[in-house]
């Protein structure tokens, strides 16, 4: 498969990039690492007039520790994050998630922003032009039907990014810039929960930084992902968990995030009532089970990925349980704080 033709832009400053983005809007797509968009270009799922590469833009890469946060530049590669001792010691879930993306050769190029802002996927949508056109246009390509759920009124494509659940769990913030202004939003607010357009960024907005807050006191996080193969796979179900202890040793905050659970990562509120206010040592298996079954209800699965939806729903519960247990285990370990 060849790439479609496009004009190539390679600015060197953020200012220039934003100017080009606001000038070309819908005609332009941004290429950070290029591992995701290249495949979609080859499948003609997107045919922009302009491709803007961020490879030469200064000031978008690197991991820096500040007073109360760790800042990851948008075009920092996943290998850099996976190899970072700083990330591994403070944010286990983010480190693990970046280590589980695709394969080493892809992680050497793929960036954190690219992984975060990837399109949602569906077996009927992510295929080459000929079979896709044979089926007729679905909601995702501007049509009026859904092949996965016949007669449905919306798109059920699945967001399968690895980093988003891990980042949302640890409470990461994203800095989004456009010409003349910027805004800082929690990572979960980057997603619209709409299958047709899962990313809530305007065409003139550029994600420039991700800020991970360093929490005081003891905390722990974990990420679990299910794939059929060991590598080069999107998750069929994934879960990230973050636990925070207060001074007295009680768990005061629990964040459970499900990935591959619908058009955006799901952050079920109140799922962890059974765990809140308890010491990690006192959390029983039944408490974990209760939290898991409440959280897994947020999973929205239809038959549009490699495995049947009924099986993926059960997988979501298993992944949540494993992640929760892993996080509890590391809180129980004396002196461990991540």
């Amino acid at each position: 498969m060849n790439l479609p033709r496009f004009e190539f832009l390679s600015p060197t400053t953020i200012k220039e990039t934003l100017l080009l983005m606001s000038g070309y809007k819908e005609k332009l797509r941004v290429l950070a690492g290029g591992t995701e968009i290249t495949g979609r270009l080859k499948h003609r799922l997107v045919t922009p007039t302009y491709i803007l590469s961020l490879k030469r833009v200064h000031g978008l890469t690197g991991i820096t520790q500040k007073k109360s946060e760790v800042v990851i530049g948008a075009t920092t590669t996943l290998s850099e994050i996976a190899d970072s001792q700083l990330i591994a010691s403070l944010f286990t879930s983010v480190s693990e998630a970046s280590r589980r993306v695709a394969a080493p050769a892809i992680r050497n190029v793929a960036t954190v922003a690219g992984n975060l802002l990837q399109e949602s996927r569906c077996l009927y949508y992510n295929q080459s032009e000929l079979p896709r056109n044979g089926l007729g246009p679905c909601y995702k390509v501007g049509g009026e039907t859904c092949h996965a759920v016949k007669g449905s009124k919306r798109c059920f494509s699945v967001y399968q990014g690895d980093l988003a659940p891990a980042l949302i769990a640890v409470g990461a913030q994203a800095r989004v810039q456009k010409t003349g202004s910027f805004r800082t939003v929690p990572v979960e607010d980057l997603f619209t929960d709409k299958g047709t357009n899962p990313i809530g960024l305007a065409r003139n907005e550029l994600l420039t930084e991700i800020m991970l807050p360093i929490r005081k006191g003891r905390s722990a996080s974990a990420y679990q992902k299910f794939t059929l193969r060991g590598s080069i796979e999107y998750p069929l179900a994934s879960a990230a968990v973050f636990l925070q202890e207060e001074k007295g040793g009680m768990i005061e905050e629990v964040r459970i995030v499900l990935g591959a659970a619908g058009p955006s990562p799901k952050l079920p509120e109140d799922a962890a009532k059974a765990i809140l206010g308890k010491r990690p040592q006192d959390v029983k298996t039944t408490d974990v089970q209760q939290a898991v079954s409440l959280a897994a209800k947020a999973m929205e699965a239809v038959d549009n990925l490699m495995l049947p939806s009924s099986y993926r729903r059960r997988l979501a519960a298993v992944m949540t349980k494993r992640a929760l247990e892993e996080a509890l285990r590391s809180l129980r370990e004396v002196g461990h704080a991540s």
Binding site: M1, L3, F8, E16, G23, Y24, T38, T179
Partner: protein, 194 residues
């Protein structure tokens, strides 16, 4: 293909972006419409296997296509063409990458190593020798990618464990399923102190 000796400073790419950056956004969108009709070839200088190649290529050509079709460096294979199989692996500044997912115009200034760049004056690289000695080649299609991935691993970590080797080649598919021999060969190459 047009290969010349020394590149002139790159003018075209900067001219396009500079002109747009000076003008207000409204006018650039109009220019976009006009320019879309005539997409021009770009002049790039690729640094491959310690040699400079100056090329005129369309921006939509991938590095893998340019290596094979323009420069006839056909040691780099193309198979799935969407980043899943690893046969098109080349080294970019020493790290393995998929050449089917990279735009050739986007890797200017980087050091590219293909399988052709490993042998030294006809003498095989120790990893290549180890692959031959340990029968780590069946049909041979995944071999260039495997050897380059192994080289990147051993450059970074001269004495990897079996798990580290398996993890490093986890993105390279051998459809003959000869993984055991490949792991053995990489291990042998590492034990030999490369």
């Amino acid at each position: 293909m047009q290969a010349r000796r020394k590149p002139a400073p790159q003018k075209q790419a900067t001219r396009a972006t500079k002109r747009i950056s000076k003008q207000p956004a409204k006018r650039t969108a109009k220019q976009a419409l006009k320019k879309a009709i005539t997409i021009e070839k770009k002049r790039v200088t690729l640094h491959i296997n310690k040699e400079d190649y100056e090329l005129f290529i369309y921006p939509h050509r991938t590095l893998g296509e340019v290596l094979r079709d323009e420069l006839h460096l056909t040691g780099t294979k193309q198979s799935c063409n969407e980043g899943a199989c690893g046969t098109c692996t080349v080294l970019l500044d020493g790290a393995p990458v998929r050449s089917c997912l990279l735009l050739a115009v986007d890797v200017e200034g980087k050091e590219i190593t293909t399988i052709e760049g490993l042998a030294d004056n006809g003498k095989l690289h120790p990893i290549q020798e180890a692959f031959v000695e340990h029968y780590a080649i069946q049909c041979g299609f995944c071999t260039p990618g495997m050897i380059l991935t192994a080289k990147a691993l051993l450059d970074k970590n001269p004495h990897p464990t079996e798990e580290e080797i398996r993890n490093a080649i986890s993105g390279n598919i051998c459809r003959c399923t000869g993984y055991s021999k490949i792991v053995e060969a990489i291990k042998a190459a590492s034990e030999r102190g490369r």
